[in-house]
Symmetry: C2
Subunit: 134 residues, 2 copies
DNA sequence: CTGTATCCAATCCGATACTG
DNA sequence: CAGTATCGGATTGGATACAG
């Protein structure tokens, strides 16, 4: 299962990093960019929910306890502009809007799930380390 | 390779999320917690470098173009308190300090690498979606 | 060499009020 | 129902100066 790779595929796909890592390139590093996008407060949860089935706006609002309307809109807009989520408007009265993962969004579920799984498996160790507060 | 799992393992390991997701529990969701920690500006790069070999403080400072002394210290301290990195002081004159990944840190490389790989593979699609700016 | 301390700017996020 | 607009507090990160 584990490969012998101890590097992280980043900085345009190289396994060995240049030294020094150029500041200009790192600022646009795909891995860091994606990581930062996906790790804001609500994105992981919204991707998880939309990974199960499509949701309407207020349905998400009800499903996610504590999210503000502003943050729900903002997060969905960002996901859409990144091509991870698509938005379909049904011109009913009142209007209804459905959100669903795009194929690109679906493809993200697996690596994201792997990292989430690691977090679940090792969270106790991290907590223990924090308790030692050294 | 791909499983049929379309959920993300989160919220204490459940594959199906309760509805609504309780705000109090989500605030402590291990996956979100880990994702947010690992995605600050310099953490991914530092973990990547330390995944190759141990580094001394100034060696990291030189290797990472653009990082401030303050952020290098802060990021390493956080990684250490989370148990991902360990710090060894050699009482030479002047002192030298070596940082290396702990076994826990090493175990993070694989899922992090998977996500970084996804980012590298799909970054062009994300960029294209952003250009469409819809 | 390996840090701390201080200050400041930018961004993130929540609360609230309003709208087609 | 599905948003937008505005405000303000909290967090993040950079620059600079100082220290064991």
């Amino acid at each position: 299962m584990a490969t012998s790779n101890t590097g992280v595929r980043t900085l345009l796909g190289s396994h060995r990093l240049p030294n020094p890592v150029p500041a200009g390139e790192y600022a646009r590093c795909p891995a860091t960019d994606v990581l930062r996008r996906v790790s804001d407060k609500w994105t992981l949860l919204l991707i998880t929910l939309l990974g199960q089935r499509p949701y309407r706006f207020n349905e998400l609002h009800r499903a996610v306890d504590g999210i503000s309307q502003r943050m729900l809109t903002r997060t969905l807009r960002t996901l859409k502009s990144d091509g991870l989520v698509e938005r379909e408007v049904f011109p009913t009265l009142p209007p209804s809007v459905e959100y669903r993962l795009t194929p690109l969004g679906v493809s993200l579920l697996e690596p994201l799930s792997a990292l989430a799984g690691w977090a679940v498996d090792h969270h106790a160790e991290i907590e223990a380390a924090r308790q030692r507060r050294t």
